[in-house]
């Protein structure tokens, strides 16, 4: 530290410890929503209801981890929900219909999701196709394979290992299930990984300025490939959580999860242009959507109005974020 002492002007990173501005916006939006719903329904503000909301966002929240990674590289993944659905069908059908060992079956399901991630990644890096169009294509492909492989039949009578994550434990009034806890652990791990590890920083660098990153000698294509495969891993985990939550392998799961996950990422303050954002914001974003759905249902608002209000609130939340950032400047 002797060199640092020579230049008193250079601070040694105190800023790093401040809360990042990017998560302030969604936090404000969440707080406003919570206060509002509390005045509207006396059933809203309870530990038990909040643990319920967390359970409900478990699947989309896990998908959104993968989606955040991809969006940080300035990509986008429309296939995430369908890939998740395929993973669920693969693992349940292998275990139930083909009698495979359940853990092996789970592994196969997750690997199927990662294979899709690999295909997405290869198309993006090798042929340089835009992620939007690649994942639009693989979304359709994953959907069709899911329907064909499952014969459009829901798969029931799952072995207990597959529904383990759906079991709940009591934590001071809250009945959290293991899946929710696992999701939160994943978020904290990825937050740390993106902030404090070399591959994590390279994800930001690629999203920030791909050409510059390439010129510094980082194999940007490998970083991208890794991101897409890792995203596939998270979709695979999400498929296990989804199976555990509903107790069945459902070929029609995941149809709207792509827009939901992207909404969570954007609400959480990650830039669609890549390179800027904090993954914990995504969790906040997912929770915001869950809070609205729960709160509006508790209020007895008809679902068409829920769609209307969700539309307005998505815009409002991001606008709050934008305006709070301006204020911070």
């Amino acid at each position: 530290m002797s060199t640092a002492a020579a230049t008193p002007k250079a601070d040694t990173g105190s800023k790093m410890k401040l809360p990042p501005v990017a998560t302030l916006g969604p936090l404000i939006a969440l707080l406003i929503a919570v206060v509002f719903f509390s005045t509207q329904s006396d059933r809203f503000l309870s530990v038990q209801n909040f643990s319920l909301i967390l359970q409900q966002v478990m699947v989309v929240g896990t998908i959104a981890i993968g989606q955040t990674l991809i969006i940080l590289t300035a990509g986008i993944d429309l296939s995430c929900g369908m890939v998740m659905s395929l993973g669920g069908i693969v693992m349940t059908k292998l275990a139930v219909a083909s009698g495979m060992n359940e853990y092996l079956a789970i592994l196969c399901g997750i690997l199927a999701c990662m294979a899709f991630g690999l295909v997405n990644g290869l198309l993006v890096t090798r042929i340089k196709l835009p992620p939007f169009i690649v994942t639009l294509g693989t979304m359709n492909i994953a959907f069709a394979i899911t329907q064909l492989y499952s014969g459009a039949q829901t798969i029931t009578d799952l072995p207990p290992a597959m529904t383990f994550f759906g079991n709940t434990i009591s934590l001071g009034g809250a009945a959290l299930n293991y899946g929710t806890i696992f999701m939160i652990v994943l978020y904290i791990f990825m937050w740390w990984g993106l902030r404090d590890t070399q591959p994590g920083r390279h994800v930001y660098a690629v999203g920030n300025n791909p050409e510059a990153t390439r010129l510094t000698g980082i194999a940007t294509d490998k970083v991208l490939l890794m991101v897409y495969v890792t995203a596939g891993l998270f979709y695979g985990i999400a498929s296990l959580l989804s199976v555990a939550r509903t107790g069945v392998g459902d070929p029609n799961a995941g149809q709207t999860e792509n827009l939901d996950a992207i909404t969570a990422v954007v609400l959480g303050g990650t830039s669609l242009f890549g390179g800027r954002g904090i993954i914990l914001g995504t969790l906040l974003g997912a929770v915001i959507v869950g809070v609205f759905r729960n709160g509006l249902t508790l209020m007895g608002v008809a679902s068409v109005y829920q769609v209307l209000i969700t539309g307005v609130l998505v815009i409002l939340a991001v606008a709050t974020d934008q305006l709070s950032r301006k204020g911070a400047r």
């Binding site: 499952s150 459009a152 039949q153 829901t154 107790g247």
Partner: protein, 311 residues
């Protein structure tokens, strides 16, 4: 006493069938002094959204939940979990699988609905070799499969049973296409089918908007005469088209009835704890102005009286 809370979870928001069902439930709830919570899947087939809705309604104090399951099997674990908390479940419109997973079922049978128009079409073709186009829903949807397979069975073609989620095929079906239950997509599907086989003389459609689209396509091609269109649903707009001769016959269902019966059962359960049980068929009626011998049907006047939607 607390106001009884009844939850209604429909498949989607967009189908007029479910919109009417919700209006029926609301009317019944208002009449009985109950509070209605409603929610829907985000789209056809969305099971996870319905699971979320169940949880939220229980959190909102609902003791009875009426549900039109998007996925008859997939919803069962969530229902079981909720029943363990003392909630009564009534399946509306389509059964759960197994059917006894819900406490009661108020429904029409989609397979039967398909069979009725299949039988009608068989007679209407009067022995002519049928060249059939089917405008189905979309891949993997059980209602789409049940109506399609019921139609095939009623017509006497090779078919699959009521539990199958796959669409039966037969040589007489010269073209199968998805309409998504949407008029514009139904029209495109029919245009392409006509392109494939211009001699199509019988069109099965998943619902009446798709039937209207099919008719539009036939009319543009100058072939609307001599082609029989049959459909399912019985909405007022559909019955109007039956009256106008656009649709030859349709199987009418009764969403309002299902909903009001469900709400009544829910209020009863809240008041004195009596649970509804078993299967109540709310019925399906074949509506046509060109009745065929050997097939029971009612005319469009009856259909209009009983139809849902704007008369």
């Amino acid at each position: 006493a607390d106001q009884p809370v009844v939850g209604l979870i429909t498949k989607t928001d967009t189908n007029p069938f479910f919109v009417k069902m919700k209006e029926g439930a609301q009317a019944a709830a208002t009449a009985q002094g109950a509070k209605l919570l409603s929610a829907a899947g985000k789209q056809d087939g969305d099971n996870a959204g319905q699971v979320t809705a169940i949880e939220n309604m229980i959190a909102g104090g609902a003791k009875t939940i009426l549900i039109t399951p998007n996925d008859s099997k997939a919803i069962v674990p969530a229902i079981k979990k909720a029943q363990a908390q003392g909630v009564m479940f009534i399946a509306l419109d389509s059964p759960t699988d197994p059917a006894d997973a819900a406490d009661a079922l108020f429904a029409t049978n989609n397979y039967t609905a398909g069979e009725l128009i299949g039988k009608y079409a068989k007679v209407a073709m009067a022995g002519k070799p049928a060249k059939i186009a089917t405008l189905d829903l979309f891949p993997g949807h059980p209602v789409g499969a049940q109506r399609h397979n019921g139609f095939m069975n009623g017509f006497g073609l090779k078919s699959l049973d009521a539990k199958s989620n796959e669409l039966a095929k037969d040589a007489a079906v010269v073209c199968m296409a998805d309409s998504f239950g949407d008029q514009a997509k139904g029209q495109t599907a029919m245009e392409n089918c006509l392109q494939k086989n211009p001699d199509i003389n019988l069109v099965y459609t998943i619902n009446e908007p798709a039937a209207a689209g099919a008719y539009q396509a036939l009319k543009n091609a100058g072939k609307e005469k001599g082609v029989v269109i049959v459909s399912v649903d019985g909405g007022c707009a559909g019955i109007k088209n039956v009256k106008a001769g656009v649709i030859a016959a349709t199987s009418q269902q009764y969403p309002l009835k299902m909903a009001s019966m469900g709400v009544e059962a829910g209020v009863a359960y809240a008041k004195n704890g009596t649970k509804a049980k078993g299967y109540t068929d709310t019925g399906v009626t074949l509506i046509t102005d060109k009745p065929m011998a050997g097939v029971d049907s009612k005319d469009t006047k009856v259909g209009t009286d009983l139809c849902w939607g704007n008369k």
